[in-house]
C-alpha cells in the first residue's frame, strides 16, 4: 500500500469513528501537478487525499485555527518539528491532535504548473526522514539516516564575505520587500495576536515601505524565530520577490546550535534556549 492509500485509510477510520472532526492533508491543485492543503470533514471525501513528493506545504499552522477541536494532520518530519514547537510553547493541546506522520522521501522543487525531479537544499541536507512526533506512522523508517554533507554551506559562504559586502547584499534584497507579510502568515512560529509591526505605540515599524524599515522587519522577524525556526523553508517559498530569507534563519539556527547546543522542534519538553541560562557560561559577551 502506498503512502497516499495508507493516509486515506487512516483518515477514513478516524472520521468514521468520530475520533476527529477534521483531517488536514493534501490534495491535487488545479494545475494537475502540484499539491495544496485539504481539509476533510466527511469520510466519503478521503479519496481526495494524496501524498507524494509535491506535498511541500507545512500544514501545522492550521492547528492554531482549531485549538479546541480534535484534528488529525498529515506531517512530514520537518512539519512534525513545528508540532513540537507549538506543544512546547503551549499553543496546542497534545490530546486534541492526532498526528499522521509520514516517512518522507524528500520533496521536489515545485512552483505553479511546474514540478521537477530536483530536491531542494533543505531536503538534501535533511537529517530526519522520520517524524519526531506522531501517533500513526505511514511509510518505513529507513535503517540509517544519511551522512550529511557539510551543513550550512551557504551560511559559511556568507560569513566569509566582508561586512560591507553583506551590507550591500541585504540592502539589495530587502529593497524588493513589499511588506506583504506572507512570510509571517505562512510561518507556524509566527502566531502573535499582535505582531510588533502592528504596534502603534511604540511605533517600531510603520506602514512605510522603505529599505531601512524593511531591514528592521526582516531582521527582527528572524530574531524572534531564533531557536524556534524549525526549517520548513515555507517563508522563502512564499516570498513573492525571492528574498533569501532562509539565509537569515539558518544563520541563527547555526549560532544557536553552536552557542547553546540546541535544535528547535526536537522535543516538546526541553526548555527553549532563551528561557534558561547557565550561570557560569562563557559566551563571549562582557568578557
Amino acid at each position: 500500500m502506498n503512502l497516499a492509500e495508507q493516509i486515506r485509510n487512516k483518515a477514513k477510520e478516524l472520521l468514521e469513528s468520530k475520533t476527529v472532526e477534521c483531517v488536514i492533508g493534501y490534495e491535487r491543485a488545479t494545475d494537475g501537478l502540484t499539491a495544496r492543503p485539504l481539509f476533510v470533514y466527511e469520510p466519503e471525501e478521503v479519496g481526495k487525499l494524496i501524498f507524494d513528493q509535491t506535498c511541500t506545504h507545512n500544514l501545522v499552522k492550521y492547528l492554531l485555527n482549531r485549538r479546541d477541536k480534535a484534528t488529525a494532520i498529515v506531517v512530514k518530519p520537518c512539519d512534525s518539528r513545528a508540532i513540537n514547537l507549538l506543544l512546547n510553547e503551549k499553543q496546542i493541546q497534545r490530546e486534541k491532535v492526532l498526528i499522521i506522520g509520514v516517512v518522507c522521501p524528500g520533496i521536489v522543487e515545485t512552483s505553479w504548473n511546474q514540478t521537477s525531479e530536483k530536491l531542494p537544499a533543505r531536503c538534501q541536507l535533511c537529517r530526519q526522514h522520520t517524524p519526531v512526533v506522531y501517533d500513526f506512522l505511514v511509510g518505513e523508517t529507513p535503517p540509517t539516516e544519511p551522512a550529511v554533507p557539510k551543513p550550512y554551506a551557504d551560511i559559511v559562504e556568507m560569513e566569509a564575505k566582508s561586512v560591507a559586502e553583506r551590507q550591500s547584499f541585504w540592502a539589495e534584497h530587502f529593497s524588493r520587500c513589499i511588506r506583504c507579510y506572507a512570510c509571517r502568515q505562512v510561518c507556524p512560529g509566527c502566531y502573535c495576536s499582535e505582531c510588533f509591526v502592528g504596534q502603534l505605540d511604540p511605533l517600531w515599524v510603520g506602514i512605510r515601505i522603505a529599505p531601512s524599515e524593511n531591514q528592521v522587519w526582516n531582521a527582527i522577524r528572524a530574531f524572534h524565530l531564533a531557536g524556534r525556526c524549525i526549517g520548513c523553508h515555507e517563508c522563502e517559498r512564499v516570498c513573492p520577490v525571492n528574498i533569501p530569507l532562509m539565509l537569515l534563519n539558518q544563520k541563527l539556527e547555526k549560532e544557536v546550535g553552536e552557542l547553546f547546543n540546541f535544535q528547535a522542534g526536537l522535543s516538546a519538553e526541553a526548555l527553549p534556549p532563551f528561557a534558561t541560562f547557565q550561570k557560569g557560561e562563557k559566551l563571549g559577551i562582557g568578557e
Binding site: 492550521y62 534584497h173 524588493r176 506583504c180 507579510y181 511605533l203 528574498i243
Partner: protein, 332 residues
C-alpha cells in the same frame, strides 16, 4: 499595410525616451521579471510571459507620501506632493492595461485622488501583445484579449525582426517619432486563445452564494498572506498613517489588503469581518459583485497572477465555476 518598427529602432527610441522620461520596463532581477525603472535599455527583457507584480505600482506606489504639514510662525502649512516627471510604461500586457483602466474608476471618480490623477496624466502606456497564453490566463472572459489595444496608447506585436505598431491615441502618436517607423505587409500573428471561465450572470450568482458556508470552507486553507491582493492589477486597498517628527508631519499611504486580520477593526475593538471566511469572501465579493455593481465591469482582468502566486492554490477560476454551480442551486 501595417506600421512596423525594427528591433534596432525600437531600442534606440527607448533609449531616447530615457532622456526626458522615466522609463519603466520589464527587467530580470533575482530570477523574477519585474517592472523597474531602466537607465540602460539593455536591461529590458522582451521574452517573458508576465511580470510578478503588476504595473499598478507606477500609479499607485507601494508606499507614497501624500503631503507634508508643518507649523511655521503659528501658521499651518500644507505642502502637497507633486509629480513632475513624465513616465513611460513599456511592455505591459493588454490585461494590465485594462487593470489600469479599471483602477481609474474608483481613483478618478469625483473628487479624484490627487496623486493618482497626477501619475495618470504623466504616464504613457506602450503595450506588448501576447503571443502565447499562460495556462492560468483568462483575459478573454474578463473583457480583454491578448491583442486588445484598448486602454493603451501604443500596442506592439512581435513579428519578424521587429514589432507591428498600432498607435491608438494622440498621446501615443506624440511619443513615437514617425521616422522610426516603416511598413510591413506581413499579417499580424493570430492571437492565442486563453482558456475561458464562465462569467455569464456571475454578479447575480455571487450575490446568491454570499450567505452560504462555501466561504468558510474555502478559507480553511487560506493563510491570509495578502499576496493575491498585492500582485493583482486591480486591487487597491490601502492604509494611511501620519508620522510626526520634530513638529513636521508626513501623511503616508501604503498598500494594505482586505485579507489582513484587523483590516476592518474599528474603535471599540469591533471587527465586522472577524472570520477567515468573511475576509476571504470580501475579496471575491468586491471583484465580482460590488465593483461591477458600482462601476459596470467585473473587477478582474484575467491576468492569472493570483493563481500563480497563491501558496495554497485558491484559484479564482475554480471559485467562479463553483459560484456559478452553487448559485444555480441556491436559486432552485
Amino acid at each position: 499595410m501595417t506600421q512596423f518598427i525594427s528591433k534596432r529602432n525600437l531600442l534606440s527610441w527607448l533609449k531616447r525616451l530615457t532622456e526626458e522620461h522615466i522609463l519603466i520596463a520589464p527587467t530580470r532581477v533575482a530570477e523574477l521579471t519585474l517592472f523597474q525603472k531602466v537607465n540602460r535599455v539593455e536591461e529590458i527583457i522582451f521574452d517573458f510571459n508576465n511580470t510578478a507584480l503588476s504595473p499598478k505600482e507606477c500609479l499607485f506606489p507601494t508606499t507614497e507620501t501624500l503631503f507634508n504639514v508643518e507649523k511655521k510662525d503659528g501658521q499651518v502649512e500644507l505642502t502637497p506632493v507633486t509629480i513632475d516627471q513624465k513616465t513611460v510604461i513599456f511592455g505591459l500586457r493588454p490585461c494590465d492595461a485594462r487593470g489600469i483602466a479599471l483602477m481609474d474608476s474608483p481613483f478618478l471618480k469625483e473628487p479624484a485622488d490627487a496623486l493618482y490623477q497626477q501619475h495618470r496624466d504623466k504616464i504613457t502606456l506602450v503595450g506588448l501583445a501576447c503571443l502565447t497564453a499562460c495556462p492560468e490566463c483568462f483575459c478573454t472572459s474578463m473583457g480583454s484579449a491578448p491583442d486588445d489595444p484598448s486602454n493603451l496608447d501604443i500596442l506592439l506585436t512581435e513579428a519578424e525582426d521587429g514589432y507591428i505598431v498600432q498607435i491608438i491615441t494622440e498621446k501615443g502618436k506624440a511619443l513615437l517619432p514617425e521616422e522610426l517607423l516603416s511598413t510591413t505587409q506581413a499579417p499580424p500573428p493570430a492571437p492565442p486563445s486563453p482558456k475561458a471561465v464562465p462569467t455569464e450572470g456571475l454578479v447575480q450568482r455571487t450575490q446568491q452564494v454570499f450567505d452560504t458556508p462555501y466561504w468558510d470552507r474555502l478559507a480553511d486553507r487560506c493563510i491570509h498572506c495578502n499576496l493575491c491582493a498585492y500582485v493583482c492589477p486591480t486591487c487597491y486597498c490601502f492604509d494611511i498613517r501620519d508620522y510626526t517628527d520634530k513638529g513636521k508631519t508626513e501623511r503616508v499611504r501604503s498598500w494594505e489588503s482586505c485579507q489582513s486580520l484587523g483590516f476592518t477593526r474599528q474603535a471599540g475593538n469591533i471587527e465586522p469581518r472577524n472570520t477567515k471566511g468573511a475576509r476571504l469572501r470580501q475579496r471575491f465579493a468586491h471583484k465580482l459583485l460590488y465593483f461591477p455593481e458600482e462601476f459596470g465591469a467585473l473587477g478582474c482582468v484575467g491576468c492569472g497572477r493570483c493563481v500563480r502566486v497563491c501558496p495554497v492554490n485558491i484559484d479564482i477560476r475554480e471559485i467562479i465555476t463553483d459560484i456559478q454551480k452553487l448559485g444555480a442551486k441556491v436559486e432552485a
